[in-house]
Symmetry: C2
Subunit: 105 residues, 2 copies
Amino acid sequence: MKVKAARMGKGWLDRKLASPKFRKGFEEELQKLSIGEQLSRLRQEAGLTQAQVAQRAKTTASAISRYENSEYDRYELRTLQRIVCACGGRLNIILESGPKAYHAA
Amino acid sequence: MKVKAARMGKGWLDRKLASPKFRKGFEEELQKLSIGEQLSRLRQEAGLTQAQVAQRAKTTASAISRYENSEYDRYELRTLQRIVCACGGRLNIILESGPKAYHAA
DNA sequence: TCGCTTAGTAGCATATATGCTATGTTATCC
DNA sequence: GGATAACATAGCATATATGCTACTAAGCGA
């Protein structure tokens, strides 16, 4: 365990998020985080432990930890969605066209 | 090859997309498509063949076809990003919190 | 028709993700 | 200190994705 927030529990972030100003900035920052970090936030917002998410996602806590932590970046879309879903969130995959396509050689 | 648009080439969609009205509706519809379908559109918008995308993404045309077609839905994020990038597009992964988190049991 | 291009598909070897157990670490509570 | 909880990590077996080749099909034009 790296952070000292092991027992922050359900109400942890809620108090801070009660402030609209804080919430706005918070959500903007979230988008900039790595997927693992976003996952971790999402789970904590929902007040769930890794073990709880694991149970809902039908896997183990260590798998959740792997997805949230380390330098992991080879996510499989289905698995990611399962976990996000278990945290009560939604996964949006958006394929944007480039500024003006890719007509270079 | 299933569609008869084998030779639609670069200008194919451009003519239609010249109409702002068409473009708006088109882009809205795109979001509803499966990832494979979105990929296919993205590539065609860029006026590229599967082989060309494959070369840029450092893989083979059959791999591109697999990603675009069939009932495939086990995408690996890195690979997906590589292909989207080769089509000149951008991949957005957005992790939304649920309506009000997930405080159920 | 023949040749060329594009795309879909099958089948395989290899790389990698996943699921799991066990263990280590840190914080909290008694 | 001892017990417990939350999380991280290692290591392994298995499932699955990936990369590749070869093949098939379909459209297009000479």
